[in-house]
Amino acid sequence: MLKLFEHNTLHVNSIDEANTAIDVQGLNLWFGNKHVLNDISLKIAKNQITALIGQSGCGKSTLINSFNRLNDLHNSCKYTGKVVINGKDINHKKVNVSRLRSKVGMVFQRPNPFPMSIYDNVCYGLRLQGVKARRQLDDAVESALKEAALWDEVKDRLFESAGILSGGQQQRLVIARALALKPEILLLDEPTSALDPLTTLFIEELMGELKKRCTIVIVTHNMQQAARVSDFTAFFHQGSLIEYADSDTLFTMPEKNKPKITLPVVMVN
């Protein structure tokens, strides 16, 4: 109990250099003329779960896409400021984007397994890195699927198409696909919004497990979910960071640390 309390008192401002997984410094981002992210600065703690919440369209996805440079896909995207991971600005032109993306895994809102077998899905990233040895791939597939708590369900049909899996299984397959690359950071963009409540709970539990292995950033617009799973919560509104605190402070003591906008109103979807 005491330990738990100690844990809870961990404050965002006390995240030191050694415990920072991602350090966002004065990030501004535009799509064409549209100012999507407005001077965001925050530190994301290592081996913790950080939830990003806020209204739809406020820039949450854009923010986590800038953690693995997925915004590069859009030509109209311009930015200033820094995103520092492992002491290096990832937007520096010498950074190997492929390597960055393999170290910063991502899971999307809609499960997006590739139209191939379950096995090939999990191997996709490793094969890109040139891993060919069958033994190595077999081992990686098994451990990744075990970490994603999917192994028992699919171990007998690894070579069947991933399309036959249910939505929740597909989402865990996508998680396994990212885990196979041993990422340091896992970005989850509304990973459960297309799933039923039971599957959602299952994946939330999984996140608790995964947190020992890597840093997790989860975008959600479900307040309960943020409260349930996250250690820290950042609240965004129209591209600005309004509130960033440890989740217990943010959700249990609103009158003391009052957000500038009343949460329940904003959170209506």
Partner: protein
């Protein structure tokens, strides 16, 4: 008008009116399509179907009696005339004749008359009487098969002397010529005497073969001798059982598919044209698919989203509407004369002024057709690429894949049904085009196939035959000759078949691919 209709009919009635109208139009379309298919199948099938021979006696305009063997080619109820193909001693291969029905006195099946196909493609309608051989003796007709086999034996013998002895002596003599061996050297004289000996043997065999004759008679009792060695086959077409009829059809279909045209494309088979068509379409597919797919990938994945790209895109879709003859002219002017001419100047200058690549040929034809079908492939592939979900691409990038890797491993497989659709459309279009081909390499008659056993096996510079050109050619003959008209229809039927089979193949492939990527 609109209002009155609305007043007259309640909504249910209006709906059924619409349904019946659309159904009517659809069935009209189906009827047109079916009648087209029926026409081609019936007229094309007639080429293979054995037509019975009648013994006809009629009175001509000068009131003279005639007795002839004839096949009925057309019965015109309206003008009460019958069109006959009449065979007499003067016209053993048949000539067209239109007789008024009232002038026909008698008409009965001539069970003992046969359609005798000659090796050169012509056909005699006559009554086989008897056979004669070198021994000057006369044999009854039932030994026809045995005699034909004997002739075949002599043929084989002649052929073996030609290829084993004459050809090798020829080669040795050629070597002597190169080495500069004296004209009166003993070795050369020995060879020449062997040569003359073999040649005499061939001549002897040929005259022996010449003696095998088939005597045939016509309706008026006059008779004609036919060289057995020139007879290909013989059927008593008026007296065939059901199974025999189909046997004849099958053997004619086989001839049609495997032999070369004879008698200026009015008889024989269409094998070189079939082969040329398929080869050209095949080469076209091999050329157009990578080009089209690469262009589509560039347009949809790499090209910046600006005015220039839009202009290119619009031009590409408009290219599909350019009349095909324009492509033919382009192919001739650019590929054949410019590109081909330059290739000749660079690599084949020793044979100039005789062109090698600078003349119409199968490669230029395939290339021209590839340009013609390129827009179809580009548009369909782009459509397929557009259908790849954005989420999958992002998923691939998020795992560290580069753009190229994402295209190769994720986008292309999912877009493959779309690509196949484009290829199907391209094949269907290429197999049916004739006009541009006539400018860049398709001919009425080509002495050689574009592929043979001679190095380099695939002769890209050779002209080739094409089913469409054969049909076009047949249409010109058809005003005067029923036979070639039905050969034209048979070629049409075959062309339809080829397009159908090629499409079927591609559709099957596409369905397999679709099934694989069903969820997308």
């Amino acid at each position: 008008m609109n209002n009155t209709l609305r007043e007259l009919l309640n909504p249910v009635q209006r709906q059924s009116l619409v349904i019946s109208l659309t159904a009517f139009l659809t069935s009209l379309l189906l009827i047109v399509l079916l009648s087209l298919l029926t026409l081609i199948t019936v007229r094309g099938g007639a080429y293979f179907w054995p037509t019975p021979i009648y013994k006809v006696s009629y009175i001509d305009n000068q009131a003279n009696d005639h007795m002839v063997l004839a096949q009925v080619t057309l019965v015109d109820e309206e003008s009460a005339t019958t069109q006959l193909k009449v065979a007499t001693l003067e016209t053993p291969y048949g000539s067209e004749l239109v007789v008024e029905d009232t002038k026909i006195k008698r008409m009965e099946l001539s069970l003992d008359s046969a359609a005798i196909s000659l090796i050169d493609g012509r056909m005699i309608l006559a009554r086989p009487l008897y056979l004669s051989s070198s021994d000057k003796d006369i044999l009854p007709f039932y030994s026809f098969e045995a005699m034909l086999a004997e002739v075949e034996l002599i043929n084989d013998e002649i052929e073996s002397i030609r290829s084993n002895q004459l050809a090798s002596i020829h080669e040795q003599l050629a070597v002597f010529d190169i080495k500069g061996v004296e004209a009166d050297a003993p070795a050369r004289e020995k060879l020449i005497s062997a040569f003359t000996h073999a040649q005499q043997e061939v001549e002897r065999l040929e005259s022996q073969r010449q003696a095998y004759q088939l005597r045939v008679g016509f309706a008026d009792g006059r008779a004609l001798s036919v060289n057995l060695s020139s007879v290909d086959n013989l059927y008593f077409v008026s007296d065939l059982s059901f199974i025999e009829t189909w046997g004849v059809v099958l053997s004619r279909v086989r001839t049609f598919l495997t032999e070369s045209p004879k008698q200026a494309n009015t008889a024989g088979g269409v094998f070189p044209a079939l082969f040329g068509t398929i080869l050209m379409v095949f080469m076209m597919t091999i050329i157009v698919t990578p080009f089209g797919v690469l262009a589509a990938i560039y347009l949809s994945e790499y090209a910046p989203d600006n005015l220039f790209t839009s202009i290119i895109r619009i031009s590409v879709s408009n290219m599909a509407g350019v009349p095909s003859i324009v492509y033919g002219v382009f192919g001739l002017g650019f590929f054949v004369y410019t590109v081909g001419g330059n290739i000749d100047a660079l690599f084949f200058s020793d044979t100039l002024p005789a062109p090698t690549m600078g003349a119409p040929g199968v490669f230029w034809a395939a290339l021209t057709m590839a340009i013609l079908t390129l827009p179809v492939v580009i548009v369909a592939t782009e459509e397929g690429l557009r259908r790849v979900p954005e989420g999958l691409k992002q998923g691939s990038y998020a795992l560290g894949a580069t753009k190229l890797e994402t295209i190769m491993k994720t986008i292309l497989p999912i877009a493959s049904p779309g690509i196949m659709t484009g290829v199907i459309l391209a094949i269907a279009r290429a197999a049916g085009e004739v006009a541009p081909l006539m400018l860049v390499g398709a001919v009425k008659f080509a002495p050689n196939l574009p592929i043979d056993s001679e190095f380099p096996f695939l002769h890209l510079d050779r002209q080739f035959m094409h089913l469409g050109v054969l049909i076009y050619d047949g249409a010109f003959h058809s005003q005067t000759n029923i036979k070639s008209a039905s050969m034209m229809f048979a070629s049409c039927l075959l062309l339809l078949g080829v397009v159908f089979v090629l499409n079927l193949l591609a559709v099957w492939l596409r369905t397999r691919l679709r099934k694989r990527y069903l969820q997308y």
